[in-house]
């Protein structure tokens, strides 16, 4: 045996991996309860569980099992998405977590293509299988490996060909879950069934029921299994799974909207000034833009903090930034933008309008980036196929123009009535572009089954009411040049409805 634990924990030369042998797994759930026991995992959440899919037709039916948990990716999306490096990769390859610095933003949950991360209701921090690192570090196998009656779960070092895992990794017929996500899982399956590996292969049974359990009506829940059909030519029916949760609720939907307003309220007047439609001295620009933008930026920040599981830790984003995270990058963009807005208002207050122009040199890109960075944040949620859209940055910019013009129309009405017309044309134009882009979004065949299902949920499923309301209102918003006030209201409400449909539908696809 070449390895010892004389190396400091986590710093050995090992490359830890696991193999789950489904030719041995009997679906007994011992791993589930042993893990709950070892890691004191509360009711309602799991680090690992065994999914069941019934396949085929009597009398040649069978039941396929899948031990479902963190894949210990070599390229872990959760680590990239985590703003504070609470999710991190140890030198020995274990993707571990540090609850003391988790701010509870759920970016890791949104990023994980395997739905393996959850927020622990006891300590409100993100948690998942970490290979029982605390056991490995004292020379013990993980709890699930030890308990398994049929020795279906093995842990080992990919660098050690003499170990069972090394041998299977080399010579076994392996599969992994969702390789298209480019995460390079180090949890390998042998004997796994196609209908368990693909979360959409098996149909979700009707009636809210699995074979011996409820599917669970939990807040913000996502039920496992394909709701419309089985993505498999075999008859595949999901017969056991656990309730899942979408990470980001209405607060995130709302945040995208308030942020669009915050960005647009500055961008649109600036654009009109630059185009010579408005004068640099118009109060719409000197006072209206910074006040409206700052108010909505403040609301945006408040929503973001409210959405955290650990609101008091929000400043960790700034003091212990993990720079690959778009939450961090976005945080700094928003802060920079906020500083510009403050400077802009201060300049107005001090009677120094000459400073508005130099400030706008920074303000223009910062406002645009504030609008657009969310596309990159959502893209970092690698699990959510709907959001992996190359059109999302321009679409968010369009939404910012729409929101900004809509929000500024009532302001203009009181301080600069002549601006109402131009603003209304911006609103109508942005609304039209938004509608065209949305039309493209929903009519183009989607590249993946996940994006397709998310689109179905948005247009015909759980979120259809929000979606079609948004389309209706957005169409009304096109009348802005003639009915500016009702159109502005319709545009703003339509946009928030759209954001909700889009953000929630993006998370409505079962991943496990």
């Amino acid at each position: 045996m070449t390895h010892t634990s004389a190396n400091a924990p986590g710093e050995s030369n090992a490359a830890w991996a696991k193999v789950v042998d489904h030719t041995r797994c009997i679906g007994c759930h011992a791993c589930t309860t042993a893990c709950k026991s070892e890691n004191q995992v509360p009711v309602g959440v799991t680090r690992t569980y065994v999914k069941y899919v019934d396949v085929g037709v009597f009398p040649t039916a069978r039941r396929a099992f899948q031990v479902t948990r963190c894949n210990q990716c070599a390229d872990p999306p959760c680590v990239i998405a985590c703003p504070t490096a609470a999710m991190h990769e140890r030198p020995d390859g274990i993707v571990d977590f540090d609850k003391s610095i988790c701010i509870g933003c759920k970016a890791c949950v949104a990023a994980c293509p395997y739905d393996a991360i959850f927020i622990n209701p006891e300590d409100h921090s993100a948690e998942k299988c970490n290979f029982c690192a605390h056991r490995i570090d004292v020379g013990l196998e993980p709890a699930c490996v030890v308990v398994c009656p049929t020795q279906a779960i093995l842990v080992g070092d990919m660098n050690d060909p003499a170990s069972a895992v090394g041998e299977i990794a080399g010579r076994g017929v392996l599969s992994v879950r969702r390789p298209e996500k480019e995460t390079r899982p180090k949890l390998f399956y042998t004997g796994a069934h196609a209908t368990t590996l693909d979360p959409l292969a098996a149909a979700r049974p009707p009636g809210g029921l699995f074979m011996w359990s409820e599917q669970g009506d939990i807040p913000h829940g996502v039920k496992a299994g394909n709701p419309s059909h089985a993505n498999s030519s075999t008859a595949a029916l999901l017969s056991y799974d656990v309730p899942h949760r979408a990470p980001w609720d209405f607060r995130v939907s709302l945040y995208t909207w308030t942020k669009s307003i915050a960005a647009g309220a500055y961008l649109v007047p600036l654009m009109l000034v630059l185009l010579g439609v408005l004068d640099w001295a118009t109060p719409l620009w000197t006072w209206g833009a910074p006040i409206v933008a700052a108010v909505f930026l403040a609301v945006t920040g408040a929503l973001l903090i409210w959405d955290l599981e650990h609101p008091p830790r929000f400043y960790y984003l700034m003091v212990r930034p993990q720079w690959r995270s778009w939450l961090v990058r976005g945080g700094f963009i928003i802060s920079g933008y906020g500083a510009v807005l403050a400077g802009h208002a201060a300049a107005s207050w001090l009677g120094r309008p000459d400073l508005h122009r130099p400030l706008a040199v920074a303000g223009l890109p910062l406002a645009a980036m504030s609008a657009v960075y969310t596309a990159y944040l959502f893209a970092q949620a690698k699990a959510r196929d709907l959001w992996q859209s190359p059109l999302l940055p321009p679409h968010l910019l369009t939404q910012a123009l729409l929101a900004g013009s809509g929000a500024m129309i009532p302001v203009a009405l009181s301080v600069e009535p002549t601006a109402v017309g131009p603003l209304a044309w911006v609103l109508a134009a942005a609304g039209a572009v938004h509608l065209v882009m949305t039309f493209g979004e929903i009519t183009l065949p989607h590249g993946t089954a996940h994006a397709h299902l998310a689109n179905l949920e948005m247009t015909r499923g759980r979120y259809a009411i929000y979606f079609w309301l948004s389309i209706l209102l957005m169409t009304i918003a096109l009348t802005a040049p003639w009915l500016p006030i009702p159109a502005a209201a319709a545009g703003l409400i339509g946009l928030v409805a759209f954001e909700h449909a889009y953000v929630q539908a993006g998370q409505s696809v079962p991943l496990a």
């Binding site: 009997i26 026991s37 609850k99 605390h134 570090d137 020379g139």
Partner: protein, 973 residues
């Protein structure tokens, strides 16, 4: 923290462990990581706190072994006792346990839920008001014990021994309580066996005397299961690990199960047989082996009682083996694959393929049937008999990879006192004359027998037994238990609330797995072992220097354990010793004082477990300390073919051989520290002990049957009224199509789930979270026929005595024309007391003989000392189906034949989920119908006794009590 130093101090990894000269437990991964801490460190082990992670917070534990008390497998557990709080932090497996080998199913780790269950019973309770009213007051143990002891003593003084009854569900121990009843001189043992395994036991017992199989799956070439041992059963985890091991070694797995079980999914051949047709399938395989001469001729010639068969059935014909073979051919010619297809629905071609696989097994055929088909059907015992016939044809009995008789793979150490007493009376309420061959007590008929025949039970103990919920026809049990004339005092010994305890006078809390003493030994492979269950906190505190004299001082609240309870109770029954009972519960070291458990188990491990004292001495420990430290000990490795062993000459002084080649000796039986129960083999007319059988000239041990051989033809069955069933045959089930109305379907109601165990696991939150409902499995074709039922739709399932309302689960995993419903769920409570985790609150309405149960409140989250109970996200707790089942006592084995004939319809508008409706008069009529097909001892006994003496019987009464009374006696008189 210096991590290198940490490693040097606490690491269980191979190099560090071996450097310290300690035990490295290799895990399945075959790397340097251990599966368990070295046992030398179990007294003080440091682990890193998983909750404080990644901060490396050290926690100190004492690892104390015990034995799981969830299912019947008796797997090893290691309790991690936190040395700071002196509470159990978690349970892992025990690597020193030979049966479970450190591994567990989901129920093992979940034991901690049961210990910390916020709804557990912590103090002795006495009912206030009427029985069943649901009002309780806390009483002292002393007051309860005195009350109970006084009643028992009075019953004994007045010769009412028959009015004392101990009714046990899961024994979880080997013989302690049976010996106590023997010491009391009370024929009061009652068990759950006839709702569990009597069918299979009968099938095995009539073949070989011993009543259980012990398959050697790991070494088999073919594994043939009429069971679902990859998820449940005797013995789930120990057998599942060995079945998969066997498969990995190349064994073919054949599974007979109507339902797609987790076991069937792993089968190379899944045969979804129509319920009750299993014996037809198995006999067609046997017939194939016979027709094609694929059986082990020499084995059959040597070990079957074919001579006796020919003598009886073909008197006059020459008793040659060749003639027997011709007979055999003829007897089984009717069992061809076409016949089996007609009965089972499985295509003949599939059956032929399976038979050809079985034929390749040779002596490596591991088979098992325990409940399943033998527990479901009229004549189910013939399923086990037909299955074992295949082993008997191939000679795959007690061979490597074959099937062993249970008793040779089980070790019950002789205790300090072995009462030589036998009750002088016969309890007709448990052993009625109509079922002289019943393998065990006719327990589930008690309400009907008492309704019909009168009788009274003055003191009725139920222990880990919940007849109201588990038995068929539970409302009849409620009637019985509510009747204070019939049941004088009902004492429920239970760790948790159950439906029967609601109808008790005393509810006395007894410990879970880690809170009590017991020894267990189970036939799980070819070897014998003894495992020790112990109260782990007591052991931990004693190791830390405390003197603890009573387990209830360390258990939660005043939870006690049965061992100490029974010793104490016996002393109160016989305080002065004048009843002659106390002496069996007295210390030897200090005569006149109570036997302590240290002395009881200390004696046992010192004197009755060969090899243990030596092994303990090697570590400088007493045998008791060794078992307290490691929890289990393997007594013998390979046992092998005991029946082939030659009887040594010292045992053959003055031996005689009778005309049936049975050999009897005058040499008394050598002392044997293993007191595992065997059938009682009759001596010869001169009182010589039977020592073996003569086979091909040499004297072999043989089998503990009347002939000493494998009994293909059973004289017992023949002589006691069932000559037509004396050889393995196919009996058409009560749910055979010809016995059903056109619109009736068979309901399979017995299947278990891997994470639940009867009514004992309803207090484990992690298990309930996984499985908490029991929809009716129905094939899409049937669902369509019944009006397009979909999963989740409510259906009314009508039995012949009532109905229940449940949801449908439409699945390809069941044979069309059959429905199935798991029996675990559907727990209920009447008021506040009970397990809120898994019990619905219900009301019961009684109008005449009709009972209606309806939910008032389902499950769901609740506030308790455990924050997790507020996170319960499911509300369903399933439906109680057993209430609607009539009793179906098999006339031979006495087994309750569980399958029910039902009609399934969409629920009616007035139906609510969970509804149960039962007509008690129809329930009693159903009992009368089954009674009518019995063949009573009074009409059929060949020798004027109530029961064949040789058959196993717990707390065997003295021989005189076996005599049938001259005139019919009234029960309980």
């Amino acid at each position: 923290m210096n991590l290198d130093k940490l490693s040097a101090r606490v690491s269980a990894a191979r190099q560090e462990t071996e450097k310290r000269g300690e035990t490295f437990y290799p895990g399945p991964s075959r790397i340097h990581l251990a599966s368990f801490p070295p046992r030398e460190r179990w007294h003080d082990w440091i682990e890193l706190d998983s909750r404080a992670w990644p901060e490396r917070v050290e926690k100190r534990y004492m690892l104390v072994p015990t034995t799981c008390f969830n299912c019947e497998s008796g797997c090893g557990l290691l309790a991690y006792v936190d040395k700071e709080t002196l509470q159990v932090r978690k349970f892992e497996g025990n690597p020193e346990h030979p049966g479970s080998r450190g591994r567990n199913c989901g129920k093992g780790p979940a034991t901690i839920n049961q210990v910390t269950d916020p709804d557990r019973i912590l103090y002795p309770l006495k009912r206030v008001g009427k029985r069943g009213e649901g009002r309780w007051e806390r009483v002292s143990w002393d007051a309860a014990m005195d009350d109970i002891a006084d009643r028992i003593a009075a019953a004994m003084d007045e010769g009412r021994h028959r009015e004392i009854m101990y009714h046990v569900g899961r024994p979880g121990e080997d013989g302690f309580t049976e010996r106590m009843l023997a010491a009391w001189g009370v024929d009061g043992h009652n068990s759950h066996t006839n709702i569990c395994s009597s069918g299979a036991r009968a099938g095995y017992a009539f073949w070989m005397g011993m009543d259980r199989p012990s398959p050697d799956h790991a070494n088999a070439a073919v594994i043939l299961l009429v069971s679902s041992h990859l998820e449940t059963g005797h013995y789930f985890n120990p057998h599942a690990q060995r079945i998969i091991e066997g498969k990995k070694n190349g064994a073919k797995l054949i599974v007979l199960d109507t339902r797609l079980s987790n076991t069937a999914t792993h089968a190379d051949h899944w045969l979804s047989t129509y319920p009750g047709s299993e014996a037809a399938v198995l006999l067609s395989i046997a017939g194939y082996l016979i027709r094609h001469g694929l059986y082990d001729r020499d084995f059959v010639r040597r070990w079957w009682n074919w001579k006796e068969f020919l003598d009886e059935r073909r008197p006059g014909a020459p008793a040659t083996f060749e003639n027997f073979e011709t007979e055999l051919q003829e007897l089984y010619s009717e069992y061809d694959f076409e016949f089996a297809e007609k009965e089972s629905g499985v295509p003949a071609a599939v059956l032929e393929e399976v038979a050809s696989v079985v034929a390749t097994a040779g002596t490596r055929l591991a088979t098992h049937n325990w409940r399943s088909a033998s527990a479901g059907n009229l004549g189910g015992w013939q399923v086990a008999r037909a299955l074992f016939m295949i082993n008997a044809l191939l000679g795959a009995i007690a061979t490597e990879g074959g099937t062993y008789p249970s008793a040779w793979n089980k070790y019950v150490p002789r205790p300090i006192h072995l009462p030589p007493r036998h009750p002088d009376h016969w309890n007709d309420l448990t052993w009625p004359q109509e079922w002289p061959l019943s393998l065990m007590e006719m327990s589930f008929l008690l309400p009907h027998l008492m309704k019909e025949r009168g009788g009274r039970i003055d003191v009725y103990f139920t222990r880990v037994y919940n007849p109201v919920w588990t038995n068929p026809d539970g409302f009849s049990w409620i009637e019985l238990l509510s009747d204070e004339e019939k049941v004088g005092l009902h004492v429920a010994l239970t760790p948790t609330w159950n439906e029967s305890a609601f109808f008790a006078d005393y509810v006395l809390p007894m410990g879970h797995s880690s809170e009590r003493h017991d020894t267990m030994s189970l036939e799980q492979y070819d070897g014998t072992w003894v495992a020790f269950r112990q109260p782990v906190l007591r052991v931990a505190r004693e190791r830390l220097g405390e003197a603890i004299t009573n387990t209830r001082d360390v258990n939660p609240g005043e939870v006690w354990e049965e061992n100490e309870f029974w010793i104490d109770l016996t002393w109160r029954i016989d305080p002065s010793g004048e009843r002659g009972i106390r002496s069996f519960f007295e210390s030897r070291k200090q005569p006149g004082s109570k036997l302590t458990l240290d002395e009881y188990y200390g004696f046992m491990f010192e004197n009755s477990v060969p090899g243990l004292p030596e092994e303990a001495a090697r570590e400088g420990l007493t045998p008791l300390d060794y078992m307290r430290r490691y929890g289990a000990f393997e007594v013998h490795g390979k046992i092998g073919r005991v029946y082939e062993e030659e009887v040594p000459a010292v045992e053959l002084v003055n031996h005689v051989t009778d005309e049936m080649d049975r050999v009897f000796t005058e040499v008394p039986k050598p002392a044997n520290p293993n007191v595992v129960p065997f059938p009682s083999v009759a001596p010869d007319d001169d009182g010589r002990r039977r020592v073996g059988v003569r086979v091909d000239g040499s004297i072999r041990r043989g089998f503990p049957t009347p002939t000493g051989r494998l009994e293909f033809w059973s004289r017992t069955l023949h002589d006691w009224g069932w000559p037509e069933l004396a050889i393995p045959t196919y009996i058409k089930s009560h749910v055979h199509r010809q016995n059903l109305e056109r619109d009736e379907l068979p309901l399979i109601s017995t299947f278990r789930l891997p994470v639940q165990i009867h009514t004992r696991s309803a207090n484990a939150k992690w298990l309930s979270e996984i499985a908490h409902t029991n929809p009716l499995w129905i094939h899409p074709r049937d669902a369509e026929r019944l009006g397009g039922l979909g999963t989740g739709d409510q259906v009314r399932v009508e039995t012949r005595i009532g109905h229940f309302v449940v949801k449908a689960w439409v699945t390809e995993g069941i044979r069309p024309g059959v429905v199935a419903c798991s029996h675990h769920m559907g727990r209920w409570k009447l008021g506040d007391e009970g397990q809120r985790l898994s019990m619905a609150t219900v009301g019961i309405e009684s109008v005449g003989g009709v009972r209606d149960l309806r939910w008032k409140k389902g499950g769901g989250s609740f506030e308790s000392s455990d924050p997790d109970t507020s996170r319960i996200w499911w509300t369903d707790v399933g439906v109680h189906q057993n209430l609607t089942f009539q009793v179906n006592p098999d006339p031979i084995s006495g087994m309750h034949c569980w399958h029910q004939a039902v009609r399934v319809t969409p629920a009616r508008p007035e139906d609510r989920y969970g509804d149960v409706h039962v007509d008690l008069d129809r329930a009693h009529e159903a009992y009368r119908k089954w009674l009518d097909v019995t063949r009573s001892a009074s009409a059929h006994s060949p020798d004027g006794t109530r029961r064949p003496y040789w058959l196993l019987r717990p707390v065997r009464p003295e021989k005189e009590a076996y005599r049938l009374p001259a005139e019919p006696e009234s029960a309980g008189a």
